[in-house]
């Protein structure tokens, strides 16, 4: 198991390195960070543009710039933005916010997926099953941004009216200049978190619940489950102890593969709800052709995806005793 994890880690680091090279050279050879300056009207004098070019280091050849960037990253320094601000300053605050959303929505959609999957599988071809099958397909076919915007325009206002005060917020990740004690702050975070989390979770839950349903159906057909029933174990015990424990194993892999997609979905939900977090950083970086910002996003997200994948692999070992050696 340890050997497997180490091998996975080494491959992932190589992949991350290759990705950084590809992205660096794509952005620097096709995107012109000075394009905005050049296209200004009235035109900016040539020597100003030239000075700017030197200031952001564009006078050096691309491979040299890449090496400078890479040696910085090894020391956890992602360089400066085009405006001269250190990327690190921007990064950690925003990362914290994105992680809040990603973790909350992965947890929520896992709970939903397992619950719905087990329910549909144990009642195969019932009305419940058809309902969840249909709603699963519906969420699979729904654009995240549309669902998120719908929740923002509808759900928030309804709930707030119902409660009589504002508990759900629709813009931002927390109120500006947040004061109050720990619990006030947590309530404020949660109020901002609810809708983006639901939007993101509903989209990924749809596919996961389909996997959970079919793996649960497979397991419930297997001989050891029939044996457990024949020996007189209660249905509840069979479903949860014998069935679910084994049916969770395939889901672990699916979820691990989908982590990247969840981060991708977070870009969209952050944009809908006006979060100043990682997704916003990426889009701004792409608009400006700011290679340091784009790469900081890619590297941090890449490392997180790798870490989550490792956790999933380790969980796999816990769930499946056969591969524990």
């Amino acid at each position: 198991m340890l050997g497997f994890v180490v091998r996975r880690l080494i491959v992932s680091i190589i992949v991350l390195f290759v990705a950084s090279v590809l992205i660096y050279f794509t952005v620097t050879s096709f995107g012109d960070p000075l394009g905005e300056l050049r296209s200004r009207n009235p035109p900016v004098p040539e020597h100003v543009i030239e000075a700017r070019r030197v200031a952001i280091g564009l006078d050096k050849p691309a491979h040299e710039r890449y090496l400078t960037w890479a040696s910085g990253v090894v020391r956890m320094d992602f360089g400066d933005t085009l405006q001269g601000q250190p990327v690190n300053e921007l990064l950690w605050r925003r990362l914290q916010r994105t992680m809040r959303m990603v973790i909350a929505s992965v947890v929520l959609s896992l709970v939903l997926a397992v619950g719905v999957g087990v329910l549909s599988a144990t009642r195969q071809y019932s009305k419940t099953d058809y309902f969840f099958t249909f709603s699963g397909f519906l969420f699979l076919s729904m654009p995240v941004f549309w669902l998120a915007a719908l929740l923002k325009e509808f759900a928030a206002i309804r709930v707030n009216q119902l409660v009589g005060r504002r508990i759900i917020y629709t813009t931002g990740s927390e109120s500006p200049r947040l004061t109050g004690d720990f619990w006030d702050r947590m309530a404020n975070y949660a109020g901002h978190l609810v809708l983006p989390t639901i939007a993101l979770a509903l989209i990924s839950y749809a596919a996961w619940s389909r996997y959970q349903r079919s793996s649960m159906l497979d397991v419930m057909e297997s001989d050891y489950v029939k044996l457990a029933r024949a020996k007189g174990a209660s249905r509840k015990r069979v479903v949860f102890r014998h069935g679910l424990r084994n049916a969770l194993i395939p889901l672990t892999t699916v979820v691990a593969i989908d982590f990247g997609a969840v981060f991708g979905g977070a870009i969209i939900t952050e944009q809908v709800f006006g979060w100043s977090a990682m997704g916003n950083l990426l889009i701004q970086g792409l608009r400006d052709y700011d290679v340091n910002v784009v790469l900081a996003w890619m590297m941090v997200t890449g490392v997180l995806v790798i870490v989550f994948n490792l956790i999933a692999d380790l969980l796999y070992g816990v769930l499946d005793p056969r591969i524990r050696q």
Binding site: V18, V27, M142, P143, F145, A149, I268
Partner: protein, 321 residues
């Protein structure tokens, strides 16, 4: 040379009894293709019948065809052009303008038709390109093996680490907002899953005896791949193509919504949702209709794909009889 009943003909599984009952098709050339053609035809009929009996899939197919046809030609039939500036502006829906007029005097229904056209064009082109490339690459990789496979695996590794949406955003920013370019960059990454599926099927089929027999009879590589290997993988290829249509339309609209896909003055369903959202208080229908269109297209495509999957492989039944 023809040897009917040779094991080489029985590549479709154990139930070869129908073979003798079907009258040979006079149009089929004698020789190797003879029995195979009869078999595939009846197999095809079985699949078609299973699909036609799948009620949800049939209803979805009809609805989908209507939507696609409406999207592709609706814009030319409607009395206003999406770019035409009318004397009025900021008008609520009327009979003349079912979705009203926007703040610079354009008919909103014409805009929605145009957006639907662009989104459907992108989705169909992506499905066509990625299916063609995926099938060819998968067949070559599976038949000749070699390095193609390891390249595919490495690119897949890359996407396990970097979210594909981010890569699409990056490329969309670089190539700009044309629908054709957008379809190309999406297709450039969507063919890989299919290539791996086709490769896996070809890899296992190429060891079968009927392939050996075909080779012994002097069939060229091209004929073996085209006549004997790919027809057996057609189920996976078609089902995958439907999934690609659904995912492609969701990807394109997401890129356009984020402002890095199809850009003004052209429009797409994603861009319209984003415009509708910013005018939600005054024109909520501009938010709803493009969204409904995206969902209906993706949902019906998914149902058709599900019905096809059931028809091609009844053991994997997922929805209903």
């Amino acid at each position: 040379m023809t040897q009917p009943g040779m094991p080489s003909d029985r590549h479709d599984g154990p139930d070869t009894t129908l073979e003798d009952r079907d009258a040979p098709d006079p149009g089929v050339q004698p020789g190797m293709g003879h029995d195979v053609a009869v078999r595939t035809r009846s197999q095809r009929q079985l699949i078609l019948r299973r699909f036609l009996q799948h009620r949800l899939a049939m209803v979805s197919l009809v609805l989908l065809l209507l939507l696609v046809a409406g999207s592709l030609i609706g814009g030319t039939l409607w009395r206003y052009d999406y770019a035409e500036q009318l004397p009025a502006f900021n008008e609520p829906p009327t009979w003349e303008h079912p979705m009203g007029i926007d703040d610079i005097g354009r008919d909103l229904f014409a805009k929605v038709l145009r957006g639907a056209q662009r989104s459907v064009q992108v989705a169909l082109l992506v499905a066509f390109l990625s299916t063609t490339v995926g099938t060819i690459v998968g067949a070559i990789a599976g038949y000749y093996r070699g390095i193609v496979d390891s390249i595919l695996m490495r690119i897949t590794d890359l996407f396990l680490v970097i979210p594909s949406l981010a890569v699409f955003l990056l490329l969309a920013r670089i190539v700009g907002g044309g629908w054709f370019q957008l379809a190309l960059i999406i297709a450039a990454f969507f063919w890989m899953p299919l290539a791996r599926i086709v490769r896996a099927e070809v890899l296992s089929l190429r060891e079968k005896e009927y392939i050996e027999a075909a080779r012994a009879l002097g069939a060229s590589d091209l004929r073996i791949i085209g006549r004997h290997l790919l027809p057996n993988a057609i189920g996976s290829i078609i089902v995958n193509a439907t999934i690609v249509v659904a995912v492609a339309i969701l990807t394109e609209t997401a890129l356009s919504y984020l402002g890095l896909g199809i850009a003004a003055p052209d429009t797409s369903l994603g861009l319209l949702v984003s415009e509708g959202q910013s005018a939600f208080k005054t024109r909520p229908h501009l938010f709803y209709w493009p969204g409904f269109l995206i969902i209906t297209i993706a949902l019906t495509v998914n149902f058709v794909g599900d019905g096809l999957r059931d028809a091609f492989d009844p053991r994997q039944k997922r929805v209903r009889q």
